[in-house]
């Protein structure tokens, strides 16, 4: 089994190295065959691992592969922890990655950086697998940073575009903010436990929770809360939670397969995965859980709103991703880790599908991304149309589709999660996820209608060339559409309520909302039927679709009128709540001003001028003086020796 684990990880790495370094030698076909086979192998083996651990009842494996360094008792290792959570993530990651690899053949067909692209996405697969399979914080951090690096490289893949460079720098910097919190969290863990190993740390969780740590000015904080909030700040950066979300929409500058793979299905969910993995820690801090809940709800609702006013097809999907990540985070905050991971899985399928479908549209439209210049292309691209419909229905949680099961379970979990001292937080969360359903339906179908229905608003030249995309594009769409449609039905029982995760996720008995839900769960069909009566979620979604239909198909003149009437609100949304301004003109500019000040005053004047050059000059002067001790006269030398000897003797005689 260890060989299999290693192969799963190393096959993409090897392919990435070969495709990256010898891309010229192996050619375009060589590069895509090699990487696709490698990732395909990883996928198949991941399935084997999942089968072994779930159906065959294989044991959880937790072992160290290689000890990198031992420093002061702190073991730094490369190791794998393979339990059901890991296995599920591995399958999701490798499957989506596999699909994206195939799709890329069509999407990047004419790109000169073909081999480089395949090398990057294989490298990404490797990094992501390292992240999810890790059994220690160091490797987690390695994977965390490695996926960030590949994301950075891929957002700026078209590095000749000014906007791409801006976007990847932005992504990089915003992630640094999150990573700073993350590494502080890891450092705090090491401080308390002197270990990086998950199991050791989880074992010591109770002790940590009983300790206090002085953070600001000596006021004591619960150590576990501090650790969890710091870790969560890392998750906020990676999983684009407000206010560290600003990089994700801009990351759409990267090629679409990347948007699907990294910025929808896998990397951005790393934060969700991490929090779920750290559930034994988060459970012990209600403060941290409340923070998670609030941040998640804000993201879920307010980012969804932004999706309504976006006109770039990919940005709409991007904001929807933000909103869905917010949903997952809410589930985490409600201790419904299983629901979060479940939604993560279904989301990976349908969001990848939506992105790839958007990419398919973009290919057909000759890389036009503005939905105001599309419309009515349903008849040109039937496969893309139907798969997009499946994706959109899954996204809005239309009963029966994958997203329905996960989102509905999630909302139910939030509704049940009312424990003491959490009144306001609970209502914020619950209202956000409910209203979010309406918003999701609205922006999803706004885009859907604008792209596929209505008037054909593109120019003549483009229209004459629209046709269905080739099989390498449509086959992944179909392959992703199938799970998007049905996976919820089949897996909600076993994954969500069947104690699928077992010991890999730890929930305090009082927090276990999923168990409460599970008690009422009697099969998928019943769950489906129940949704029409249990809450307003379904009706909100239906209302969203209706409103979208009314505004964008029935009365296309209305949206503009509304925007004009409510120009204040519209501008607020259009400027994305001014977050970019806050970060760029506020923090970044302030940081630059501070940097400039420190540079000219601190660095150049004090450090360079006084400390460095000053010291160097004094040392130089000292050298100039001391060299005169060496007079060249023999008797001076001899005299110096005698004096030194005499002084030493005196020291021994009188001072010892």
């Amino acid at each position: 089994m260890q060989t299999i684990h290693l192969t799963i990880v190393l096959a993409p790495l090897l392919a990435a190295i070969v495709a990256g370094l010898f891309g010229k030698q192996i050619g375009r076909a060589g590069a895509h065959w090699l990487t696709i086979l490698a990732v395909g192998l990883s996928f198949v083996l991941s399935m084997v691992v999942l089968k072994d651990i779930y159906w065959d009842g294989g044991a959880v494996e937790n072992y160290s592969v290689y000890t990198w360094a031992v420093s002061d008792g702190l073991r730094m290792e490369v190791g794998f922890l393979i339990d059901r959570l890991t296995a599920l993530m591995m399958v999701v990651v490798t499957f989506v990655s596999f699909m994206v690899h195939i799709y890329t053949i069509g999407y990047m067909h004419d790109d000169p950086g073909y081999q480089r692209f395949f090398s990057y996405i294989s490298l990404f697969t490797f990094s992501m697998l390292m992240l999810v399979m890790s059994n220690n914080f160091l490797q987690l951090f390695f994977g965390w940073e490695a996926v960030g690096l590949v994301s950075y490289l891929l957002i700026g893949f078209w590095f000749k575009r000014e906007s791409a460079i801006f976007a990847n720098l932005k992504a990089f910097l915003v992630n640094r903010v999150g990573d700073f919190g993350f590494i502080l969290g890891i450092a705090a863990i090491v401080m308390f436990t002197n270990s990086l190993d998950y199991m050791t740390v989880f074992g010591a969780a109770g002790d940590i929770a009983r300790q206090d740590i002085a953070v600001f000015g000596g006021s004591p904080w619960n150590a576990m809360s501090v650790i969890c909030i710091l870790l969560f700040i890392g998750a906020m950066g990676k999983s684009a939670q407000a206010p560290l979300h600003v990089w994700l929409p801009d990351s759409m500058e990267g090629p679409t397969p990347i948007s699907a793979l990294i910025h929808a299905a896998t990397m951005v969910t790393a934060g969700i995965f991490m929090v779920a993995r750290m559930s034994p820690l988060f459970e012990l801090s209600e403060t941290a859980l409340a923070v998670v809940l609030v941040i998640g709800s804000i993201t879920a609702f307010f980012m969804g709103l932004l999706g309504i006013v976006q006109n770039d097809i990919k940005r709409v999907v991007a904001y929807s991703t933000l909103s869905q990540l917010g949903y997952m985070t809410v589930a985490l905050g409600a201790s419904a880790y299983g629901a979060a991971i479940f939604h993560l899985m279904t989301h990976a399928f349908f969001k990848a599908l939506l992105f790839l479908a958007a990419g398919s549209v973009i290919i057909a439209m000759h890389h036009e991304q503005d939905i105001r210049k599309m419309g009515g292309i349903r008849k040109y691209m039937p496969i893309t149309y139907w798969t997009s419909l499946v994706g959109s229905l899954a996204l809005i949680g239309f009963p029966g589709f994958a997203g329905f099961f996960s989102k509905d379970a999630l909302i139910e979990a939030v509704r049940h999660s009312h424990w003491e001292g959490q009144g306001a937080v609970y209502w914020i969360a619950y209202l956000s996820v409910l209203l979010g359903v309406f918003v999701t339906a609205l922006y999803s179908f706004r885009m859907f209608f604008l792209v596929f229905h209505g008037k054909e608003r593109m120019d003549e030249h483009t229209r004459s060339h629209i046709h269905e995309t080739p099989a390498v594009v449509t086959v992944p769409l179909v392959l992703l559409a199938i799970p998007s449609a049905v996976i919820g039905w089949f897996t909600i029982g076993p994954v969500l309520f069947g104690d699928f995760f077992g010991p890999s996720i730890f929930v305090l008995p009082g927090h276990d909302v999923l168990a409460e839900l599970g008690a009422e769960f009697h099969g998928s069909a019943q769950f489906l039927a129940h949704s029409f009566t249990a809450g307003p979620a379904f009706y909100l979604a239906a209302a969203g679709v209706l409103v979208a239909w009314f505004l964008y198909l029935k009365r296309p003149d209305l949206p503009e009128a509304i925007a004009n009437r409510m120009s204040g609100l519209y501008t607020l949304l259009d400027r994305k709540y001014y977050f970019d301004e806050l970060w760029i003109n506020g923090f970044a500019a302030g940081g630059r001003r501070l940097g400039r000040f420190l540079w000219t005053r601190g660095d150049e004047l004090i450090i360079d001028g006084v400390l460095v050059n000053g010291t160097a000059n004094s040392v130089g002067r000292l050298a100039g003086t001391l060299r005169h001790l060496q007079t060249g006269y023999l008797y001076h030398y001899a005299f110096a020796m005698i004096i030194a000897l005499t002084l030493f003797l005196g020291w021994l005689l009188w001072l010892q």
Binding site: V619, Q630, L634, Y637, M641, L645
Partner: protein
């Protein structure tokens, strides 16, 4: 006593025979074919390494009533010293031929010096140690004065000789006190009697010890007994400087380890203070004054003083790890010093001594490869990771920290930073200044290959220092 009882001393015996053979054969070689003597000397050295390796008894042994010690430490030091002398002969050969000084005496004196070094390394008594030291010193005095046409060489030889005589006097006086107090010259017996009779640990013994420390410090060239060193490094011809700068440091290490550690371990608390003062002064003065030098041989001389500070501090720490660190430091330093002076020799030729640091200007344009090698030596000495000098320094800093002297560790780091300046200046000259001299090197292909190997070794040992560290720890333990 049979002849096989002398077997542990086979290296010294066979080396003496080789020297006599080289000396005799050299008489019958005409000046044009003098390079034959070089090859003979090389054969003698290789033979010596072979004998050192094969004649080693399975366990540490003493013979001649304890005057001679064989232990793994001696074996390592002897092989290293022989190898480094061979390296020095190689680098010297082309230079000596070009300046018309290829004489048999150079090699014979060099071999005699090696004999002295080996005697010191295996010395089991103060008397043997002293005689080995004199053998080495006498050879060195003659080597420094080897260029009879050069007044600087004569002057520096004179200084070296007179100061060396004073240091020998101090050493002998100290030996007589130690003998008077403990009744023995043998390290084992001295250490034994100090252990058995603690009342011996008193002022008279300390007095003798202080004189011994002075002699040791002089041999190392540690401040304030260092005055001879820069003058001799500069005054002697470059091949001789190379010789003085390399193998005798191993002998000095043997001297301090045998005398202060094997013999006077019981007085550790007393000599520790002296060694610390000497080491700190060496570290500071060596590094600071090196900055003000424009002659590269003199600069390397001061740098040697600074490195000695590190070696002494490792001994000062007084633990087995410390002694191993000093051994590691000395071994690696000797390799780097041989290489650096090898570069000086490579650049020199008839009528042109590459003695100014400025002579390295633009070396990169002339020969990128050897500029890189010089960079290796300089980075190695400066202690830039991953070159081996870094690990050597790190070890010493570690053992000093373990001994509980964080202040000293900080001082070492600061001194290294200051030291980096003058090493980097050489690198700066090589890479960022325009060459004034465009001539091609005249060294043979074998010499160049050896010099390249030497440079690569400095890097390779830095990348994989583990085995050498383990070896040092094993032979000290």
């Amino acid at each position: 006593m049979t002849i096989s009882d002398f077997l542990p001393a086979a290296p010294e015996i066979s080396l003496l025979c080789s020297i006599c053979a080289v000396l005799l054969i050299d008489l019958f070689i005409s000046d044009e074919k003098r390079v034959v003597t070089f090859w003979l000397a090389l054969v003698a050295l290789l033979l010596n390494i072979w004998v050192v390796v094969v004649s080693a008894p399975p366990d540490p042994t003493t013979i001649f009533d304890g005057s001679y010690i064989y232990d793994p430490l001696s074996q390592v030091l002897k092989v290293a010293a022989t190898a480094v002398v061979a390296l020095g002969f190689f680098y010297a050969r082309d230079y000596l031929r070009q300046v018309g000084m290829l004489k048999g005496e150079f090699f014979v004196l060099g071999l005699f010096g090696l004999l002295g070094i080996m005697i010191m390394i295996s010395a089991g008594s103060l008397l043997t140690m002293y005689l080995g030291l004199e053998t080495l010193s006498l050879a060195l005095y003659a080597l420094v004065a080897f260029d009879r046409e050069s007044p600087q060489a004569a002057e520096s030889a004179m200084k070296y000789f007179v100061l060396g005589a004073i240091a020998s006097g101090a050493l002998l006086y100290g030996i007589s006190w130690i003998y008077g107090v403990t009744g023995s010259l043998k390290f084992a017996e001295i250490s034994q009697s100090i252990a058995v009779r603690p009342e011996l640990n008193d002022v008279p013994l300390w007095f003798g010890m202080a004189f011994l420390v002075v002699g040791i410090a002089f041999k190392f060239g540690a401040v304030p007994f260092h005055m001879w060193l820069p003058d001799v490094y500069q005054g002697a011809r470059s091949p001789v400087t190379l010789y003085i700068a390399s193998a005798p440091k191993l002998a000095a290490l043997a001297l301090i380890l045998r005398v202060l550690v094997d013999g006077l371990e019981g007085l550790h608390g007393v000599w520790q203070g002296m060694v610390m003062v000497i080491a700190v002064l060496s570290l500071v003065i060596g590094n600071v004054v090196a900055i003000a030098q424009s002659n590269i041989k003199r600069m390397l001389g001061y740098s040697a003083i600074a490195h000695v500070g590190f070696i002494l501090l490792a001994v000062f720490a007084g633990s087995e790890a410390g002694y191993a660190a000093s051994l590691f430091y000395t071994l690696t330093y000797v390799i780097m010093a041989a290489g650096a002076f090898g570069m000086v020799l490579l650049l020199s030729r008839q009528g042109f001594e590459a003695e100014a640091i400025a002579d390295f200007k633009g070396l990169n344009a002339r020969s990128p490869w050897f500029a890189l090698m010089m960079l290796f030596f300089m980075f190695g000495m400066a202690g830039v990771p991953p070159w081996v000098g870094f690990f050597a320094k790190l070890n010493v800093i570690n053992v000093v920290l373990d001994a509980g002297f964080p202040g000293l560790a900080i001082l070492m780091v600061l001194a290294s930073v200051v030291g980096a300046y003058y090493y980097l200046r050489v690198v700066w000259y090589m890479y960022f200044e325009r060459a004034e001299d465009k001539s091609v090197f005249q060294a043979g292909r074998d010499t160049r290959a050896l010099l390249s190997l030497n440079g690569l070794a400095v890097l390779a040992l830095g990348i994989a220092p583990g085995w050498l560290l383990a070896l040092c720890l094993a032979v000290i333990g």
